[in-house]
Amino acid sequence: MSDQFEPRLIGFLCRWCSYNGADLAGTSRMKYPPNLVPIKTNCSGRVDPTHIFKAFAEGADGVLIAGCHPGDCHYINGNYRTAGRFPLMKKMLEQLGLEPGRIRLEWVSAAEGDKFARVVTEFTEEVRALGPLGWNTRTPEEQADAGQASSDRVEEAVPA
Amino acid sequence: MPAGEKIKICQQCGTCTGSCPTSSMMDYGPREVIAAFRAGMIDKVVKSNTIWLCTSCYSCTVRCPAGIKITDLMYELKRLGIKYDLLPKDTRNPAMTRYFIDNVLKYGRNHEVGLMARFMLAKDWSMPFNFAGLGIKLFTSGRLPLLPKQIRGKEEIAKMTAYLDAQEAKLQ
C-alpha cells in the first residue's frame, strides 16, 4: 500500500436490508476498500445524532448510514424517520465545521451487494479527497471554513 | 471505445447478423466479427469486406441483448483497417471515406459533386456511365452545384485534428 491517506469510516447498517446487502457483497466476492467498519443496528431509524458525533469524536473521518429503500422498511417506516432526520444532522455537523461530504445516507437492499460495494468505494474515495478530519487540531476559523466551502458542492448529494 | 468491454458478454445469439440489412453480402456477419475479435483474430475480419458494408443503420445496436454498440465497433474496425493499412482489395468504401474527409478538411463542408467525381474517376471508370442518367437530371435541376462552399473557420477543423493527434501521441 502506498502512504496515501486512509480514511477511517464507520457504517451504520440496518440489520434487514443493508447488513444483508453487505453480506451479499461478501458472498459474491465483490471487492471494495477496507476503510469502513460496519456497526449493526436493527433499523436505520435507531441511529441517532449522538452516535454520529461519537464516531467523529473518536476519530472517524466519515460516517455512512445505510437502510432499506423507502417502502421496504422492516419496521414499516423507520427509514423515513432516518431520511427526515438526516438533513438536520448534516446541518448540525456543518455548523460544527464539518464538511457535509463526510456523512452519507444510502438505501441498500439485501439484494444490492453490488451497490453496497460501490457506495463504500465511492465514499472512501470522497472522504480520502477531503483529507483527515482533524476535529481537534483545527482552529475554529478553519472549521468554519471547511463547513462553508464544501456545503455548496455536496448539497446535491442529499438523497431526496 | 465507450462501453467497449461489453463484447465480453456477447452470447453469439445472432440477432445482429439477422437484423443487418447487408449481412448477406458480408464475408463475416457482425456476430462473427465479435467472435473473431474475442478470439484474437481481428486481422481476419478487418481485411474482409464486412466492416465496409456497414451502412450505420444501427439495427444491430438497438437490438443487441448484451447492449453492445456494434455500429461503434464497426467504426473501430474501420479505423484499425485504415491505420494499419489492412484493407480489402476490392472494396471501394475506404477510398470514399478518405475523399470525404479530405473534403471536410479542405472546405469544412462536404462537396458532393467533388466527392463523387473524385471517387468515380479514381476508383471506377465505368460508374459515371451507370449513373449518367441520374447525374444529368440532378445537374439540370440544379441539385449538383459545381463549386464547393467553404466555411470561414475551415482551418479550425485541421487544428482540432492536430490537437487530438498530439493528445493521442501523448497517451502512447
Binding site: - | 451502412t55 467504426y75 471536410v104 482540432m160 490537437y163
Partner: protein
C-alpha cells in the same frame, strides 16, 4: 418560436429541396429558423471511421457555435446529421474521456462547449413543439385520399430513440394524419435501410435494399413516399431506374421530402417548395391533392 438551424452539407446540393421546403414550411407555421453561423460538416458516418474523437470534435464545433449563438434548441433536418450531433452530446455526457478530449480540441481553436445544447430533429420540433393541432388548423389543402408511405430511414430514431421508437416510429404517421393524408401506417419498410453511402461503393447491394422498400410501398398502393433524410430521398428516388433494370420492375413512385408534401398541404406554392427539383415527377401527386 425560434430555433437555431443546421441545414447540413446535402442542403447545398442534392438535398437543397429539403432545405428550401423546410424554410418555406417553417415560415408558414410562424417558426423562425436562424441558420447556424459558419457551420461545418457534422462528420457524418465517414468521420467515425478515422478517429472517434475527431468525429465528436468536428460535430461539437457546431454545438459550440450553437451554444454561443443563442439559447434556442438546435433544429436539424438530415437524419445523419441529427444522429451524429445528438450522439456527440450523448457520448460527451457518458464518457469523461470523450468530454475532456473534445473540450480540449475546441479550446485549441478558442471555442467552448458544455455539452448541453439540445439537438432536435425537425419532426420532433413539428410534432412536439408546434403541435399537430396547430398544424392541422393551418391546412389549406387537405391531403385527403393521398396514400402516403412514411419512410423514416435508419438514423431517424436509431440508435438514440429520444423522440420516437427505435423499432416502430410513429411521429411521421401522426404528422401526415394531421394533414388529412391516407397514411400507410403499417408501411413495413418504414425503417429499412436504403443502403446509404453504399450506393456509390456497392451499388448492387444498395439497389437490392432500395428494391425492398420500393416494392413494399408499391404493394400497399402508395401514391408518394415521404422521406426525412437527403440520402434516403436521393437513393429511393434517383435509383429507381437502376432498380427497375436489376429487378425487371417498373417503379415510378414519386418521392418527396416530407416538408415538401406538408408545404403543399399548407397551401405553399410548389415552386417555393422546389418540387420541380424532384427526379421522379410529382405531377400526379400535385394533381391528386384536392383544391
Amino acid at each position: 418560436m425560434r430555433y437555431l438551424y443546421y441545414p447540413g452539407c446535402s442542403a447545398e446540393s442534392t438535398g437543397m429541396a429539403y432545405d428550401i421546403s423546410t424554410r418555406a414550411l417553417m415560415e408558414k407555421l410562424g417558426v423562425e429558423l436562424v441558420e447556424l453561423d459558419d457551420w461545418n460538416c457534422c462528420g457524418a458516418t465517414s468521420y467515425f471511421s478515422v478517429r472517434e474523437l475527431d468525429s465528436f470534435a468536428i460535430a461539437a464545433r457546431n454545438l459550440a457555435i450553437a451554444q454561443q449563438q443563442g439559447d434556442e434548441d438546435l433544429c436539424v433536418i438530415c437524419n445523419a446529421c441529427y444522429t451524429t450531433l445528438a450522439k456527440t452530446n450523448r457520448y460527451m455526457a457518458d464518457s469523461p474521456h470523450v468530454r475532456e478530449q473534445v473540450q480540449g480540441a475546441l479550446k485549441a481553436v478558442g471555442r467552448r462547449y458544455d455539452g448541453t445544447k439540445p439537438v432536435r430533429h425537425i419532426m420532433d420540433v413539428l410534432v412536439n413543439d408546434v403541435g399537430l393541432e396547430a398544424i392541422s388548423e393551418k391546412v389549406a389543402r387537405r391531403l385527403t385520399g393521398i396514400k402516403v408511405a412514411p419512410y423514416y430511414g435508419c438514423q431517424y430514431s436509431r440508435p438514440i430513440g429520444s423522440f420516437d421508437d427505435t423499432e416502430d416510429p410513429q411521429t411521421m404517421d401522426r404528422f401526415f394524419e394531421a394533414l388529412g393524408a391516407d397514411v400507410l401506417t403499417d408501411f413495413p419498410a418504414k425503417l429499412k435501410c436504403c443502403g446509404g453511402m453504399m450506393m456509390l461503393t456497392n451499388a448492387t447491394g444498395a439497389v437490392r435494399l432500395c428494391h425492398e422498400i420500393l416494392k413494399s410501398a408499391e404493394d400497399l398502393g402508395a401514391d408518394v413516399i415521404v422521406a426525412a433524410c437527403p440520402l434516403c430521398e436521393m437513393n429511393l428516388e434517383g435509383y429507381q431506374p437502376n432498380v427497375n433494370k436489376a429487378y425487371g420492375t417498373h417503379f415510378h413512385i414519386p418521392v418527396m421530402y416530407f416538408t415538401q408534401l406538408a408545404g403543399l398541404a399548407l397551401g405553399i406554392d410548389p415552386k417555393q417548395l422546389a418540387i420541380d427539383k424532384q427526379v421522379v415527377s410529382c405531377a400526379p401527386v400535385l394533381a391528386a391533392i384536392p383544391a
